[in-house]
Symmetry: C2
DNA sequence: TTGACATGTGACCGTTCGTTCACTATAATG
DNA sequence: CATTATAGTGAACGAACGGTCACATGTCAA
């Protein structure tokens, strides 16, 4: 019927692969969820593996387009409270955006089977956030909001615990409220530890 | 032949499940890796799923026996350097112990499919280490090695980044040396931030 | 109107899956 | 020594898998 069937198949593949894994997904169930029979799929993809490769292409392109380049850097916070607020907004977004949640789950499941998934997983879970906050923290040190320190080390110390809480939300969604509270508590603790004395005083003056 | 075939099957299952996942593993290949044919497996387990359940039982019991109770707490470090050293030894162990590495990989793959795997994953990746270091840090604060602070928050801030680096080792084993160096650098940075002034002085006096 | 192309279908293919079972070999037991 | 339990085998099973193909339908350009 529609010309967007190819995209609908990819969406269904992301849905099923992120639940059952590549090996645990069968094409009959996948196409049935779209109201098609399995043979219809082969009008759009040569094989199950080609779906997988196309999905990975898409995920890699999506990541590059949305988080890959420095131009997508969020504005550098102008206060410690703003850092906390920005962090909360980012985490709220990433744990509620359906596509990104499914992408992370898929990467968790397939990271040991496929080299491209492996590389993308490291970007998603580790280097991506760290590099982003390295730049932000360097700027905040210049602005004397954060104490002078190794910005990459602080970025890692800041983002890794948050990553772990995001994983918790993916794994046990019912714990999301608790996890969000912990993100905020951790973020506030972080700015209390590494914020400059000057900025700390300005905070409490409010 | 041997009476330990059941255990050998479980070991092979851990090996294959942690590589290809439950759905991606087939019994022919599993038993063949032990020099058996598939039907032999059914002398020891009723089904593939029973292997999975037995393996999970074993993993849960193993965790409880080795990390579950307070009696297995490592000795509380008596200096900041000792905290760094103890951390390094623990991480070295956990990223090189074959069984534990495979267990973590398996949990990463299956955490979204099985509720017991889900719960065990949270213990392995988050609460286990955090609770352990909450106790350690509380004791170190009493001993005036660490600044007075919320020990649970510090434990989380300490163990979560280390967890992320352990995951990196699991995912990309060739990066293990780099990851270990980052664990040590992070640990040293942590004690520099949260160690008491008194103890910092004692460190530099050496 | 006709032909070409894209999309979807149902029947079918060969393979692999998990599982069963009659049977054999071995070792322990009485 | 006969017996019984245990561990392993090879052939076979039905079901489910990924994949193919002749065919039906709809769309649109010539």
């Amino acid at each position: 019927m529609a010309k967007d069937t190819k995209e609908r198949i990819l969406a269904a593949a992301l849905e099923m692969f992120s639940r059952y894994g590549y090996a645990g997904t069968n094409i009959r169930a996948l196409t049935a969820s779209l109201g098609l029979v399995k043979s219809s799929m082969y009008r759009h993809f040569e094989s199950k593996e080609e779906i997988w490769n196309a999905l990975l292409d898409e995920m890699i392109a999506y990541y590059a387009a949305h988080f890959g380049s420095p131009e997508h850097l969020p504005p550098v916070p102008e206060s410690l409270d703003e850092l906390v607020g920005m962090t909360m907004r980012m985490v709220e977004f990433t744990v509620h955006d359906d596509r990104i949640v499914k992408t992370r789950k898929l990467l968790q499941i397939e990271q040991f089977r496929d080299d491209r998934a492996r590389a993308l997983a490291t970007k998603h879970f580790l280097t991506g956030l760290t590099e982003m906050f390295t730049r932000i923290f360097a700027a905040m040190m210049d602005a004397e909001l954060l104490c002078r320190d190794d910005p990459a080390m602080l970025a890692f110390a800041y983002t890794a615990p948050i990553s772990e809480l995001i994983h918790l939300c993916d794994r046990e969604p019912e714990k999301t409220p608790e996890a969000m509270a912990r993100v905020e508590a951790f973020s506030r603790h972080f700015v209390k530890t590494y914020g400059t004395k000057k900025e700390q005083g300005r905070r409490e003056a409010r």
